[in-house]
């Protein structure tokens, strides 16, 4: 907008500060048509945060429904629709785009000293593809009431009289967004690094986004194909997965999990990148082994493609195939353990600053190890036959997805809040909310392990009365979890409006994104950045160089 001069704006009386990416041009139009990766990141953040709130609201209703056996507040059909919407929204519209789309977009170019991502217009196009796809999915599910579960298993998904076709079309569009985001990051990391910034000096968050992007680019098209085939089968009756016409419904499961298993690494790898950054900054130490984290990131990205069969142990896999998929799945556990030991080793004899991001990381470590160990358990064929499709599996993946990814998401949110906004949030409220989220999470999902082991199947509306106590505990936990999140929303908004100025580097971090101002200028750096020291150099000489 031309009403204000883009450039110097008066602040705090006579002082004139150089422009930041926020106040350089404040018109709505400049935000909606932006090609600035930082603004695209914020658009992604706002959209995905709304999706998290929506998916969380669905989950709260589901939990309330389970306070009593049979009907509590919704009928069985509404229950089926709710768990489908919860899954679809949380997986495809929140978890997958959230950290890469929001934090990745904001930080990766800054961390490698670039002015922007390689293809800025593709970047904003990727956001709008996500936006349009998400709107289509939400309208379809609201109007048509999808009841297939987020996995869309054939043959039911082909026959379900609900809005299968428009929902899958929306997901197809969201998939394009994911592919283009991944493509952009791969090319950006390869070609846009500042002079002198070698691969083995990149911040670990960049590595994790890079590994994630490879999965996004290579796995997402297969999901696109799978959902398109189901939509075609549903719409035109082509019967490719219909046994009555020679099709095999299990082949859909293969295609679906070829994407949807690596997709959990799309969710957890960026979270691991956040943890690496937070641990180093708040323990003021270089990582115990930088290379171990890098190689285990790439290892997870690679092996993740070879594990999909462990979702199908009861779908008629041969004993040999099941065993092979089980062992390959356990390799992921080894790579993850390498990371966990490295993070803990980093903390050892570090100078620990016990702030909100680090508390979230402690929660992450506990829940992620817990979820990971149960993952090894369900990757064991003989055990999985007992736990398959029970609450045990539900608890397992929520420990990874919520206990892992979501806590890391909150760690990153608090860690980079001053970077993005230039403001400080209230540490006291932050720690309180983190404690509530951590405790609430555990109370919600730990009983679900017990429920599953006792035989409670997932996605069931009704249950025998002996399961009620554990269901009630789980539901109460969900309220604690939700209250922690609501408090977070409250104090972060307050901080945004009237928080203290953070200065450029409130955490005294050595990582590259803190070398520039907070909030960063429109082109990220006022001068051409020189990354003289390592991003995790907390030695005396390293500190004096900056």
């Amino acid at each position: 907008m031309s009403a204000t001069t883009p450039g110097l704006i008066p602040q705090g009386g006579a002082l004139s500060l150089p422009p930041t990416f926020v106040n350089d041009d404040e018109s709505i139009r400049s935000w909606l048509l932006t090609t600035d990766h930082k603004r695209v990141g914020i658009l992604f953040f706002v959209a995905t945060a709304l999706m998290m709130a929506l998916g969380g609201a669905f989950a709260l209703v589901l939990r309330i429904e389970h306070l009593t056996p049979e009907r509590t507040i919704v009928d069985a059909l509404a229950y089926n629709r709710l768990f489908t919407m919860h899954g679809v929204v949380m997986v495809f519209l929140f978890m997958i785009p959230a950290i890469p789309g929001a934090f990745g977009n904001f930080l990766v170019p800054i961390m490698i000293g670039a002015k922007d991502v390689a293809f800025p217009r593709l970047n904003i196009a990727s956001f709008y593809l996500y936006f349009v796809g998400a709107v289509v999915v939400l309208i379809a599910m609201q109007a048509g009431g999808l009841d297939t579960g987020w996995t869309f298993y054939t043959p039911y998904s082909v026959q379900s009289p609900s809005a299968v076709v428009p929902t899958l079309m929306g997901l197809f569009i969201v998939g394009w967004s994911s592919i283009l985001t991944g493509l952009n990051f791969i090319v950006t990391v390869h070609t846009m690094r500042a002079k002198g910034l070698g691969w083995m000096r990149m911040p670990l968050f960049v590595w994790s986004i890079y590994g994630t992007s490879i999965i996004q680019v290579l796995a997402t098209p297969v999901l696109g194909l799978a959902v398109a085939l189901v939509a075609i089968d549903h719409g035109f009756d082509w019967g490719l997965f219909d046994p009555a016409r020679g099709g095999d419904p299990v082949l859909f499961q293969h295609l679906f999990w070829f994407y949807s298993h690596p997709a959990v690494y799309i969710m957890i790898l960026p979270a691991m990148g956040v943890v690496s950054e937070v641990v180093c900054t708040f323990c003021r130490k270089n990582p115990f082994s930088y290379r171990a984290i890098v190689y285990s990131t790439l290892g997870i990205a690679f092996v993740g493609f070879l594990t999909w069969g462990h979702h199908m142990f009861v779908a008629g896999l041969s004993v040999f195939d099941a065993g092979a998929f089980g062992i390959l799945s356990m390799l992921v556990g080894i790579f993850s353990a390498i990371k966990v030991f490295t993070w803990v080793g980093t903390m050892y004899r570090g100078s620990i600053a016990f702030k909100t991001p680090l508390l979230y990381v402690f929660t992450f470590l506990f829940l992620f190890v817990f979820g990971g160990m149960t993952g090894i358990a369900v990757a064991t064929t003989s055990l999985d036959v007992h736990w398959h499709d029970t609450y045990f599996v539900v608890a397992h993946f929520h420990f990874i997805m919520v206990g892992g990814t979501l806590t890391a998401y909150f760690a990153g949110l608090h860690y980079w809040f001053p970077k993005v906004t230039g403001k400080l949030y209230s540490e006291r409220w932050g720690l309180l909310a983190a404690a509530l989220v951590s405790a609430g999470f555990f109370v919600t999902f730990f009983p679900q392990f017990l429920l599953g082991n006792a035989g409670m199947p997932r996605r069931y509306y009704d249950y025998p009365p002996e399961y009620q106590t554990l269901h009630v505990i789980s539901t109460v936990g969900s309220w604690v979890l939700a209250s922690g999140m609501l408090i977070t929303v409250g104090y972060l908004f307050w901080a945004l409006k009237s928080g203290q100025d953070a200065g450029n580097n409130p955490w005294h971090s050595a990582s590259y994104e803190w070398l520039t101002r907070s909030p960063p200028p429109p082109h990220n750096f006022d001068d051409t950045p020189v990354f003289a020291s390592d991003p995790y150099d907390y030695t005396e000489t390293g500190a004096t160089q900056r």
């Binding site: 670039a114 002015k115 922007d116 390689a118 293809f119 800025p120 592919i179 493509l183 952009n184 791969i186 090319v187 950006t188 390869h190 070609t191 846009m192 680019v217 290579l218 796995a219 997402t220 098209p221 297969v222 696109g224 194909l225 799978a226 085939l229 075609i232 035109f236 009756d237 082509w238 019967g239 490719l240 016409r245 020679g246 099709g247 095999d248 082949l251 293969h254 295609l255 070829f258 082109h523």
Partner: protein
């Protein structure tokens, strides 16, 4: 994209970096496209293993001459587009543009031949999903074969059309004088995409035309 040939976009340091990013970008995109087709090839392999006789019979029923003609057309077009890249780099834009016209003509010819084939199928009562009188009394594998045939050649056909769109746009850019050395990498990208179209067909050709019978 800036209008003057040798200029680069603001966020790049120089044209070389911009061209590098663009070239890497298209290869990453092709990797993604490859996995899209790979899913269908996996379905084909799986169903062919399940219905060997029906698939062998289906391949025999397709017109091998037309499939082979289309292969020849696409390979010629790929040669033309590669030569076009070479000519543009050598500073001969009119020659390059002419070769693109030839490539587009090949693409159109491919679609015409494919259309003739489809018309023949429809006349015989062969429609995707096992619909049509052709399938009465035929084993189920034949239905799956033709559903996959229409899916895979159809998806490939969409890519042919998209590739022709890209090449037509590049043709216009060349005529407007907007692609001159050293700013020639957009044509590289269009050409690489066109090669993908060609390569996918080179794999569709044997599985739908050349391999009758069972193994």
């Amino acid at each position: 994209m800036s209008d003057a040939g040798a200029e680069h976009l603001d966020h790049f340091q120089d044209l070389e970096q911009q061209a590098h990013a663009a070239r890497l970008g298209i290869w990453v995109f092709l990797a993604s496209e490859l996995l899209l087709f790979a899913g269908l090839f996996a379905l084909y392999a799986s169903y062919r293993a399940h219905y060997p006789e029906a698939f062998g019979w289906g391949v025999e029923h397709n017109v091998r001459a037309l499939g082979t003609l289309n292969t020849a057309i696409l390979i010629s077009s790929s040669y033309a587009v590669a030569t076009s890249v070479h000519m543009l780099r050598r500073g001969r834009p009119r020659f390059a543009a002419g070769l693109l016209v030839f490539t587009l003509a090949c693409g159109s010819a491919f679609l015409v031949v494919k259309g003739i084939e489809y018309a023949g199928h429809f006349r015989d009562g062969v429609f995707p999903g096992g619909h049509g009188e052709f399938f009465v009394g035929k084993p189920e594998g034949v239905k799956v074969f033709y559903t996959l045939y229409f899916l895979m050649t159809g998806l490939h056909g969409i890519h042919v059309v998209a590739g022709m769109g890209v090449l037509a746009w590049l043709f216009a850019r060349i005529l407007q004088g907007k692609l001159t050395p050293p700013h020639t990498h957009p044509l590289d990208i269009g050409a690489v995409y066109w090669h993908l179209v060609d390569v996918v067909w080179i794999f569709l050709w044997p599985i739908f035309y050349l391999t009758p019978g069972t193994f």
